[in-house]
């Protein structure tokens, strides 16, 4: 069954949209990532114009994240204090990111810039996570290696020496507010320039840089993603009129259901397994976009309407 999208001005299959929403929602529930880095390329693939794909993807991420967050709030696995500190940095960062994006637009290479950012950040983060979680799984299987693991944990302590310390009871931390603020800022910049919520960066950053309790990482990440992406939806709606509400509703219907199921699956999996799967997913997207840059495209030419989002 086909459906005509009022803002995107294309006709797409209803079940394909529900499927995309459901699949991405499932992953977002499992891993605590918004799924923006998956939904935007998928929408582009089915023929939605780029501007509409980014803006509407962000709207779907809001819904999936709210749905996931509710489960985490009930299980008390959200550190609101930590999330708020990151959010303050995040808002500053996204304004900075919008400014950088504008500069790139003037240089005429936005597409290349976005692709490079994806490959670079997702490649590095994916590799780091994969390596770490692979080691963690090996340690779990082989207790002899566990001794070395404890020594490694103490490496996070440099964060604790910074000033302006604050107690984050839910995360089990007493650290300076500067590192979470800086992480929020960086993620804000990336989310505005790459059109993603930033979950795939914030989750590993909370684990490896801040040393947060892994149980609260996913919920806290969802909490911060909701506000950053909501801000981005408003910015796109006002500046470009590129949010397609009909498309968003269909993605959301699939997405919220998927996110509920995903959250339940996420609680059943072990933390290391969760991280290695997320690492593989992030790496897969990075490799795909990297290959698009390196391999000769099937068609050297591409067209875009100048006044259409």
């Amino acid at each position: 069954m086909q459906i005509y999208l009022p803002i995107a001005e294309v006709s797409v299959n209803l079940y394909v949209l529900l499927g995309i929403g459901g699949g991405v929602g499932l992953l977002s529930g499992i891993f605590g990532v918004g799924g923006g880095f998956l939904i935007t390329p998928l929408l582009l693939f089915i023929g939605v114009p780029p501007g509409v794909a980014v803006a509407t993807g962000a709207n779907q991420v809001v819904a999936a994240s709210v749905s996931g967050l509710m489960v985490h709030i009930r299980r008390r696995t959200v550190d609101f204090k930590m999330g708020t500190v990151m959010l303050v940095g995040g808002f500053l960062g996204s304004n900075l990111g919008i400014y950088i994006f504008e500069l790139m637009k003037r240089a005429g290479q936005t597409e290349l810039f976005v692709q490079f950012s994806y490959v670079f950040f997702m490649g590095i983060i994916g590799l780091m996570m994969f390596q770490e979680s692979f080691r963690a799984i090996r340690r779990a299987r082989n207790p002899a290696l566990a001794a070395g693991a404890n020594r490694q944990r103490s490496r996070h302590s440099w964060v604790q020496r910074w000033p302006m310390k604050m107690k984050f009871r839910t995360s089990g931390l007493y650290i300076s507010v500067i590192p979470p603020f800086a992480i929020g800022l960086m993620v804000g910049v990336l989310s505005a320039t790459m059109g993603v919520g930033g979950g795939f960066i914030i989750v590993p950053a909370m684990i490896y840089i801040l040393g947060m309790n892994t149980r609260v990482v996913v919920g806290t990440s969802l909490f911060q993603i909701i506000f950053v992406t909501a801000y981005s939806v408003m910015a796109h709606a006002i500046a470009n009129q590129s949010v397609d509400m009909a498309l968003a509703v269909l993605l959301i219907v699939g997405g919220v259901v998927g996110a509920q199921i995903g959250t339940v699956i996420g609680f059943r999996l072990k933390a290391e397994q969760l991280r290695i799967l997320l690492a593989l997913l992030v790496l897969a997207v990075a490799v795909k976009i990297g290959l698009d840059l390196v391999l000769k495209p099937a068609d050297l030419y591409s067209i875009r309407s100048v006044n259409h989002p």
């Binding site: 069954m1 459906i3 294309v10 909501a230 968003a248």
Partner: protein, 256 residues
């Protein structure tokens, strides 16, 4: 004197041949309005008509009919990727001032038989003629390749269509054709033109408009997004948050 000469020259050469043509087109469309609803999945327009003449059918080759349907023109950028430092990036872009969002040509015979090149240039009938490529030559040395690419990509998407032999002509007088419109139409005024030709020369032209517009919920959402962006943005967010909360509440009930 000079003015008089110019006037004479205009009368002799400038005035289109159509004016004196004894054959005229009387035509109609099955619908002058196409409504885009949420379930819009393409549409058909039946173009039909007859040739009205004061004199008997002239001798010579049979009469041919060409029908074009042209969507609203939009500026388009065509980019070409090049191999730079091991990666493929857009190296050259050509901007076209106006390319129709949709363009269909239906004919009663092979295009090369029914239309001469001079009349194609004059009436801008075939797809390449419909694309405004003035001012592209200085943007790239091989600007025509970019125009060709645009036509090729839009043909693959079903937005540019050439359908030879799609027009049925009966006894050199009655004609009809079924034009198919794809599902990914954009709003605007679509121009339908009908030409009758003989020996590749256009002898009469007829034009009418088809209005393509969104209706109902589609129109309401589109207008809200354009006219009240902050309200539209907030509404999108409220829907997203409510849906997320609702799903979580429903699942909680189901699990009990």
């Amino acid at each position: 004197m000079i003015r008089l000469l110019t006037l004479l020259a205009l009368l002799a050469f400038g005035a289109p041949a159509l004016a004196q043509s004894p054959e005229k087109i009387v035509a109609g469309l099955s619908n002058n309005q196409i409504a885009i609803t949420a379930s819009f999945n393409g549409s058909d327009i039946l173009v039909f008509g007859a040739v009205k003449r004061d004199a008997p059918i002239p001798e010579g080759k049979p009469l041919q009919v060409i029908i074009t349907l042209e969507g609203p023109p939009n500026p388009v950028a065509v980019s070409r990727k090049g191999h730079v430092w091991g990666i493929w990036i857009n190296t050259q872009t050509v901007r076209l001032n106006a390319a129709p969002a949709f363009y269909a040509v239906a004919t009663s015979g092979p295009l090369s038989d029914v239309l001469s090149h001079t009349d194609d240039l004059r009436y801008k009938i075939t797809i390449p003629q419909a694309i405004e490529d003035i001012g592209t030559a200085h943007q790239a040395a091989d600007a025509p390749a970019f125009v060709d690419a645009l036509v090729r990509i839009r043909q693959a998407e079903g937005l540019y269509v050439v359908d030879q032999n799609a027009v049925t002509v009966e006894q050199s007088t009655l004609f009809h054709a079924d034009l198919k419109l794809p599902a990914n139409l954009i709003e605007g005024i679509y121009k339908a033109r009908i030409f009758i030709t003989r020996d590749g020369k256009v002898i009469a032209e007829h034009q009418s408009d088809v209005l393509v517009r969104k209706i109902g919920l589609e129109r309401w959402l589109y207008r809200l997004a354009q006219d009240q962006p902050p309200v539209y943005g907030l509404l999108s967010l409220v829907i997203a948050i409510a849906a997320g909360w609702l799903a979580s509440a429903v699942f909680r009930l189901v699990k009990r």
